[in-house]
Symmetry: D4
Subunit: 255 residues, 8 copies
């Protein structure tokens, strides 16, 4: 602790960073950032932009970069991305940022940030075009945790041959995240064909009864094969869980 | 009409049968039997035993035999079957009866009954053991309407090769009834592989969220392929609809 | 296969069309189009515009025209229709397009496209004005598959005589698609009067408890007559299933 | 009040009856009976046997007879009926009782009870056998309030001619209670044909999605005609509301 | 019939009016107007503006005026009201119109229209400000049917004295429509205090669990007093049902 | 801690009691009893008998008596009560037990147990007979925590005068627990009349839509007055929360 | 009463204020304001701006200030706040107003208003940034009732140490309001650690299944600890209930 | 294949075992057993006894032993266990069986069966007594797949210290299965404290709103930490998924 206080006194450390080191969190105007989560949990703390103002997102991402060297925000649109970018340009001119409008993921990294690198492959699978956003979120979480992402797209069960054509790629992954909307049959079909953990990611496509992803979610919970699931459109959670499995495998390979 | 009245006066026709011919229905103690439905609708009127006493079922089946020459009851258990059998033995000693405990279907036919015979094949498909009862109901409805039943059992998607092994049989049918519980993925997968109408039959297996067939039903309604569905466990309805399609095809072949 | 490769080498076939012939699908920027579905399934692959950008819809319709000679998109509004039209005008100047704003259906056909022609009649029935859109979708699917569409409109059960006045028209069809919102009683009433297959199409009219078509759907699933159903507002699915029945009848008539 | 107290002192009135006259309710071991309701509300207070012990039902019916001259209990089975009968035989040997097992209604009347007599007709309509119990409850409530009950049974919409055959009877009633389970279409169809108030009574028949009367209830709430509804199987409420309308008409006819 | 045809030939009757007299309905571009409903049913056919274009509403109101002498539309906003007004000004310069923005009700009457006049009072009760719109719809339906409307406003149960202060007014009505949102307790409390029929009108106020009127509706269905209900915000249905009761009372008074 | 260990070594303390003092919980065959909860939380730990075997309940109650001097079990039936009684007779012959079959509450107290005594009154109110069990549970929790229970029974809103007659008693309490099933209007009505905290206790009476207490719960959550609620039939929770308020008031009065 | 009338006659009292004193409510154009509620109930009547026009809110707040000396409105946005402010500036130039956009609470106080002052502390706790609005509403209600508010923010269970760090603050309060969205675990965890009443305030954050606060609400109702709950986002109700507990404690301390 | 056929011809292999080797499944009277699943999927095929007759379970377990050397059945009660035991005693006298009534798991192993052995630890955690059965199912699946099971019981969040006392054990596992009923907060709390994958297992305890495990499931899906979930009471699925992660780690450690 003394070290931290000395660095603070010497101006080598911001108050925010000092608080994060000592208390495990950093307090900003938009709330408190759980700076210790990544270390404690192995998962980066992502800022969910839904229901937050652009300034709140920018504040939290900036806190993240200051206390952990990098930041991730999900469900970001272009105006929010611009605000966060500008804020970081002011706060941390050394940081690089990246925004992908199709997946809504914003990423920032300080110059000195040393990203993790895991020896494990996570397959991220989609049934069709409507799965792009949550699957992209999942892939971003996996990538940020350092595992290799293998994308296998547009293999929905309405045309079964599309999936069977990619069986080798599917079997090469150490763990699969399988996104699917509508009736959500794809994760069940794939989980009957591979021997690695499958994480179902229900997608809020569809309409009428069972729409908004409820049919897909119920189908995953009732699946006649072995798999686990996350909530509808919870791409980050699915990806981060896959990342935790990848970390465990990487550690064992290292071991 | 005169003919009917003369036959009644001459004692050649029961009052019940006369009422059925003239009014289209026959009134008994357990309610009114819609004797004209089969002719008007092309579908035999089946007695649903659920929520009726054994005596009511027996009364209604007896009315059916008297006015249409045959009778069908579904969701019958052994004690009800015994009561119906005894009642028919008394009322119509010429009638033959048949009861299958696994499917809960009871059938009775008067000696003079001339069953229909359709030149069309209905495939009745199950994903697994839990689908036996509703699929059996569907098959019984199809058979009573005179179409050929082709059973394709235990081809659930958890082991996809089981379905692919039967693809030729599936494609040979003129129309398919596909039963499936749990997540209900089988009808969707099969409807992507054949070019005939597929009728989904959700089954009330499964437990927890989406149990009692709700996940399967929602999955069928959200299916990313073209199919129609009936209510959970509505085997008779699925079979009778398939029978109507078979009748139309038979008529066209005759045509 | 050689034939395809030679045509490609000779510049007589686009890469897209070649991929579609060989792999059964064509890959574009907006995803993969299942070009083999129509042949395998007997149903044209329609592009659901809901939740897609105008460019994605245009891309997919263009792929459809290129690989199957025609394209169909549903739930299209005027701006999307304009985009698709412009894209096709550039990609396929020979193609004709058609857009009906009231039903939201967009259709495109290449000059050389030879549409199917089935010897069968599909009745498309509405209870009232609110059913126009899904019933129009259903009729478009039927027409695209080549069957004759017979429209029977505004015959809701609140004024029963309106339906009874059209009984002859109803009985003339080979299969009926019956749309109904609110309490959804019309398909049940009609299915008690005709002897052909009836496909219920619940419509998302109504408000309060059971609104958004849920009451109509539940009523169709609980119908005391024989019929099957599709999801709320799933006009394309209802029409395509009717089209499959029409195809089977046509084949039998040909047979 | 003095009169009541004098009668009590003179032994001409029980403590219970005195409490009922003064406070409007009578207190027994099984709770408090709202003796003033019938006068205040125009509706007899019926004892719902569901979830009460036989002794509690007997106590409450006995209180009802003592304070209002008559008693009504619903959802009674044979053992409860026997207990209530025995209790009344002991408490009020002058009272006559009546129990109908098919409808579950128990009725008791003191010798001096002078039942009301209304100049109005309530039609009680059923779609089929499954509606017997709630329709019977409704009819019992109507009868207890003094209106004439006209039963019109087994006229479900699957065979529309059955209802059309009874149109004159339907139009003769001053108000209709229409019971219906499954999809509950009958009240909607009838309410389009008559010009008196229609009260829908959804019945808990049916199975699967929308079962337990939920589809019928939702259908009544969404009805495209004018009608009001009660809860599933709430036969007493439907009958009593019809009775209140009959009372108003009777009063107007008297007027 | 001849009379109608002669009037048409003589130009004294429009084609629309002739069709309405002969067939019971009139066909316009926006669908078919059930012109016979008012006569058959005793309830004016109101045009529900929700989900219809301004032109469709105008067309249907104009048909109503032409065939029945008056027209009613509900859930109308100012722009729609303007369109309907302009259309009527063109089609029927003799007609008078009236629009109340707070209740969303639009009314039109031809010069020769002779409105009904019933000798009966309908009380329309609200719990608070949020009930204004559906209660206004109910009152408009009652008024159009010719009964006297008695408004009793802002008597919600949170301040019970407000309702008790109006007890005499409440008891003066022949039938009550009681609107209530949130927990919907008011109709239950009032139905315990009066001896006329009470029709509950649940209102879509409230938020969170049971919001959108679902708690109020469920409370009305479970009410421990006798009352019937309509769907959430179904003011027109509640008012029209009260109007039917008023008609019956009026007829009896006349009788 | 040394004290505890010395007492254990000297045989003055059981191992169980020693574990409870040191770790805050005691481990038995049926699970772990949270012996410190009462001290930490101010609420006795009650054993919920639902879903436990008689032996498990007996084991846990015995652990409770051993470690805290008293024990409480809810949802107990006679056979379970007998088992618990026998077990305690063997384990703790000094303890007294009490079982009330109507409320399902079982209570045991060691000879040396010194029950708390709070200077505060909790009113426990019921609408009718059906509320007996959960209200009894609530009263038992209050009594066990030492507050005075004031019962106010059978004051449901269908007869409003019954509640108004008891207004003085209602206002005398420091906090109210108000049970109500069906539409659950009573807590809302009472909370508009008193100025102390009201805790609503929804009861699982009623049937059909909103049955099993769901309508009552939704009504409490939507109440237009200020109150909080517990889950359906959660009498113990309602009573214990009232007890916590009573404790705070008692402490302030002492203060 | 005479006093009030004399003051009115003398022009010392407005008609509104006189009506409020005599009848307990004041009638304006936007409805009736329950001026006696605060006195009868101990809770200020807050105006819920949701679903009201700016003018209606202004009218009601002005009535509140006129009849009770202060006014509170919730779910107010900036345009409504401006309207209310302007209205009060005109009606009551002496009044001070205050608007907090982040919590949506508007407050007005007449110059002569003497706010209550309670000797009790209410802790208002949030799990994270998304809880700001409802927690702010709760705090405003508490403050308006005169208790001391202690805010404890951002202590969600994902980083348990944040809550444990604040345990002393949590234990210092007399009663806790604990807001939480998503899975709503925080109130349960805290209620296991303190011995004062805990009121759960579920928040409508989250998405997919159980979103809109439904998961948090269900979790509070199922909590394995003792607590009560309010509806989703019902911050005012939670705060006012805490205020009532604070009043009782304050009275006891005074006592 | 020849090898298999020769062994069959030589009587060294049963027809069943031969079919299993060649087709991947074995057909018995009770349906088809997917003998290849374990190899293809890495998960043993468990027989779910729910909804199957004792004979069907026995038949399927016997098929499993014959074709894969071992068998597992879940949700078994004592009578079914006896039937299966007897059947195996007849079919495979060499097999050993084991039945645990508290968890409902039945296990059989042929003499020659060589169970897998994985170098990985799966923690199986319960909140309380009510979680015994599903947690036991999960542990059985893990054990059958060869991983080490570490049980951590009775650490529910109502007494947080119980979980904190076991933190070292929790962190020692490679993957955690955390069972929890009621509000289901435990998995969320634990997932905030460890850096390995957590699989939530919602349990069908609790009552009222959100009962039957629905609140726990919704809470897991909304968890503010990273975890995945299975359906309510799906202990086998949770355990098998943990087993798949353990297999991947074991393979990596071997690697």
């Amino acid at each position: 602790m003394r070290e931290t206080l000395e660095a603070l006194a010497a101006g080598e450390l911001s108050v925010t960073a000092a608080e994060a080191r000592l208390a495990g969190y950093a307090t900003g105007e938009a709330g408190r950032f759980d700076a210790a989560r990544e270390h404690r949990r192995g998962v980066p703390e992502a800022v969910l932009a839904d229901g937050k103002s652009a300034d709140e997102v920018a504040e939290l991402v900036s806190l993240a970069v200051e206390t952990t060297g990098h930041g991730l925000a999900t469900r970001v649109d272009q105006p929010i991305a611009d605000t966060v970018h500008d804020r970081l340009a002011a706060d941390r001119p050394d940081a690089t940022t990246e925004f992908d409008e199709r997946t809504g993921v914003f990423r920032a990294r300080a110059a000195e940030y040393d990203p993790p690198d895991l020896d494990a492959v996570v397959g991220v699978v989609t049934a069709g075009t409507a799965d792009t956003k949550p699957a992209g979120e999942a892939a971003a979480a996996v990538a940020e945790m350092g595992a290799t992402v293998e994308r296998i797209d547009d293999v929905g069960v309405a045309g079964l041959h599309r999936a069977l054509d990619r069986l080798d790629d599917l079997r090469r992954a150490d763990v699969l995240v399988v996104a699917a909307g509508r009736e959500g049959a794809l994760p069940t079909v794939l989980a009957g064909l591979v021997d690695v953990p499958v994480i179902g990611l229900p997608v809020a496509s569809g309409y009428g009864h069972g729409g908004d992803g409820e049919a897909a979610l119920a189908g995953l919970l009732q699946s006649c094969t072995v798999l686990t699931t996350v909530n509808v459109d919870a791409g980050f959670v699915a990806g981060a869980q896959a990342g935790l499995v990848a970390r465990a495998i990487d550690a064992a390979r290292d071991g």
